[in-house]
């Protein structure tokens, strides 16, 4: 923790650093079609539904959420791997969504991705030299003679024996393959890297190594990461700021310590309380917030707040009608919830108390996340 604690959260309010990537109203809908020859659109899966946030230069922005909430689609859409239904992705002020063909390919140099599955992300028919060297070739970054040296340098950088350039990916373990994938991403000297669950498919014993490698590279090259994961503790470890997604929308966005210390949105609170605490005494005492039901289908998200169907604090006539916008509750701490407002803020605890009173039935087991407990108590004391 200490390593993270002294890190100044960049750009929490937009003042900490310059904006590198600005996402404005990002929307990706996948059409649901029917018909054999003439395809009729009968609906849409709203994978990403109007996201707006900024990624600051040099920061790591964590993006967390359940499976299917649109995290990966967001990452892919930012890199223009998915066609945007609406919205803009401004990279250093230039709208990527408007770029086509060669212009987009040239811009790709600045943005790369590290993939989830190291077994699928490397072409099994290409040698390491070709895999890592291809970006150099495509962007004509080195002459033919310099290329081999550069590939070896890149491999060395990620901790792979540079003499293995003539080997094939199947000769390497998952962790090594992930390193090779990182070397490929670094080959074009990008500024911005989307890490799409880069450690989820790896052995637990190797995860820490990859995380450390990513952090080391960030320090050395001033990289900016969008770190997508469903593992809250990993995101906490690596991120400067964290965005929480639910059903294609961001429900909360705050600096790392803020979000984990004092989650404002009921969904974030539930999410955090689901993380087990490796202390049997604490674990026994706390009562996690268990959400009832499943995530609704993104093909027909509920009206109003997407979370109201499972929210312990949802209020009829408000949450199921009005769409909450992402508002700045505290400096740098954004939440999209009707019940969490700037004026309301000191009474956050009471949101859940109200909920507990309103839903005494067995719909859920509401309680306070122990993580939030201490901090909010302290805050109330101050108030």
């Amino acid at each position: 923790m200490s390593a993270r604690a002294d890190t100044i959260p960049l750009g929490a309010t937009g003042g900490g650093g310059a904006t590198l990537v600005s996402i404005d109203g990002l929307t990706v809908h996948f059409p649901i079609t029917s018909g054999v020859i003439v395809q009729r659109k009968i609906g849409a899966v709203r994978a990403v539904d109007g996201l707006s946030f900024d990624v600051m230069r040099g920061e790591t922005l964590g993006l967390v959420g359940e499976s299917g909430c649109g995290k990966s689609t967001t990452g892919r859409a930012i890199l223009q791997l998915e066609k945007l239904t609406a919205g803009h992705v401004l990279y250093e002020g230039a709208d990527l969504a408007r770029l086509r063909g060669g212009a987009l390919r040239r811009q790709r140099r600045r943005m790369q991705m590290i993939f989830q599955d190291p077994y699928a992300s490397l072409n099994s028919r290409m040698t390491l030299g070709h895999i890592v060297g291809e970006p150099l070739l495509v962007h004509k970054l080195r002459t033919r003679d310099e290329r081999v040296g550069r590939v070896k340098e890149l491999l060395n950088l990620v901790g792979i024996n540079p003499n293995t350039v003539n080997r094939y990916p199947h000769e390497f373990s998952g962790g090594q393959r992930q390193r090779i994938g990182i070397a490929r991403a670094l080959a074009v000297e990008p500024n911005f890297i989307v890490c799409d669950e880069p450690i989820s498919a790896l052995d637990v014993s190797i995860r820490a190594q990859i995380i450390n490698l990513l952090q080391e590279l960030q320090r050395r090259f001033g990289l900016t990461y969008l770190f997508i994961a469903h593992d809250l503790s990993v995101v906490r470890h690596i991120s400067d700021r964290v965005a929480v997604m639910y059903l294609g929308r961001i429900v909360e966005l705050a600096a790392n310590h803020e979000l984990y210390g004092e989650p404002l949105h009921p969904y974030t609170q539930a999410l955090l309380s689901a993380v087990p605490i490796p202390d049997p005494v604490v674990e026994e005492r706390r009562r996690p917030v268990v959400l009832a039901g499943d995530v609704p289908s993104p093909a027909s998200p509920p009206p109003g707040c997407h979370f109201h169907t499972r929210c312990p604090a949802a209020q009829d006539g408000l949450c199921d009608v009005d769409d909450p916008v992402l508002r700045e509750i505290k400096p740098g701490h954004f939440a999209a919830c009707h019940l969490v407002t700037a004026s309301d803020y000191p009474k956050i605890r009471s949101v859940e108390d109200r909920a507990a009173a309103a839903h005494t039935a067995a719909a859920f087991t509401a309680a306070v996340d122990t993580g939030a407990d201490g901090d909010t108590d302290a805050h109330e004391g101050e108030a």
Binding site: L81, V138, N212, V234
Partner: protein
């Protein structure tokens, strides 16, 4: 500050940070060693230290062996284990040798009508020491005709299949990679082709040409057989294009052409080889069928299907006229099928559930 919530960072903090990238001492050893085997050992050593759990699983010694093998050696090693497939391969090699060296191997000319080849009543002669497999209706040596017939069957089998393959790969890649309206059009067209009685189509095509030769037959069979190949390639491309390494290539800034040639085509080699070997069997049979009904290779060029057709009226009095060409077709088709099956298993060991 460091109580409660701060403690749930399992598996991250307690582990010592690895040495800085590229600083591991074990790699320095490898730098001086010979690039092939020395590098492999160093990698294995490094890995055993990084992931002790994996090394404990006991895969390490085997891994060193595997590292010296390429994909093709690996495929050949698995193919060799399949005795039937190897037998099929031997038969194919023999057939090719026989076809290529037909003039040297055949005891007689396939076109010469021997006086001694017909009985006093003008009937074909049964197998004898002079005519090993007997003679046909015109007193020609059956064995020699079969040997020359192998040329026709193999040439048509390979060329017609190659043509079908060519069309199938192009249509399949276009449909599978570029998608869109063109995909719908191509794939519905293959559906129509597959639903069409292809034998009738082939008859219509070849009978509309006055004097069908080998080339006409190759084109006709190619046109008839592109559809199944297109389907197979289309399906393969669909799955490959969604793989992360293709996404990575797109993200790298590769052009479509580069992605197709460097990333997608190499992964199509396995299905193409497998379906070609299976397709040749079908094509040989198809050629025999066309020749049987008189729309294939024209006399006097010998073809197995045509020989069966000619000998059919005499199958009671001279059964060898039908029997031997029939056996040739059966053995050839069987051999290609065995090799195709063997290759399929060799390329994809996981699919081996028999």
């Amino acid at each position: 500050m460091s109580d409660g919530p701060n403690d749930y960072v399992p598996g991250i903090d307690p582990i010592e940070p690895e040495p800085g990238p590229g600083l591991e001492p074990e790699f320095e050893i490898a730098l001086d060693g010979e690039p092939s085997s020395g590098g492999a050992t160093a990698t294995a050593v490094a890995e055993s230290e990084l992931a002790g759990a994996e090394a404990a699983g006991g895969w390490l010694p085997e891994a060193e062996v595997i590292e010296t093998r390429g994909t093709w050696t690996e495929v050949w090693r698995r193919f060799r284990k399949d005795k039937f497939a190897v037998a099929g391969l031997v038969i194919i090699v023999l057939l090719v040798v026989v076809a290529v060296f037909a003039p040297l191997i055949a005891p007689h000319s396939p076109l010469t009508q021997f006086d001694s080849g017909l009985s006093a009543k003008g009937q074909p002669m049964p197998p004898s020491h002079h005519f090993w497999l007997g003679t046909d209706l015109l007193g020609r040596d059956l064995l020699s005709r079969l040997i020359y017939g192998a040329r026709v069957s193999l040439v048509i089998g390979i060329l017609a299949n190659g043509f079908a393959l060519f069309l199938g790969v192009i249509f399949g890649i276009v449909a599978g990679y570029f998608r869109g309206g063109l995909e719908t059009f191509i794939m519905r067209a293959t559906d129509v082709m597959l639903a069409f009685p292809i034998f009738l189509l082939a008859i219509a095509l070849s009978s509309s040409i006055a004097n069908p030769g080998i080339w006409v037959l190759v084109v006709v069979i190619g046109i008839v057989y592109w559809a199944p190949m297109t389907r197979v390639i289309h399906g393969e491309v669909l799955s490959i294009r969604e793989k992360e390494f293709v996404t990575a290539a797109r993200l790298t800034g590769c052009t479509n052409r580069r992605i197709l040639t460097n990333h997608i085509l190499p992964h199509l080699v396995a299905p193409i080889i497998v379906y070609t070997s299976l397709g040749i069997a079908t094509t040989v049979l198809f050629e025999a069928s066309l020749s049987y009904i008189g729309l294939g290779v024209q006399p006097p060029t010998p073809s197995w299907g045509q020989m069966i057709s000619d000998g059919q009226p005499y199958y009671t009095s001279a059964p060898w006229l039908v029997l031997f060409p029939g056996l040739c077709i059966m053995i050839t088709v069987l051999a290609f099928n065995l090799v195709g099956d063997g290759l399929r298993d060799a390329f994809d060991p996981q699919q081996r559930r028999r």
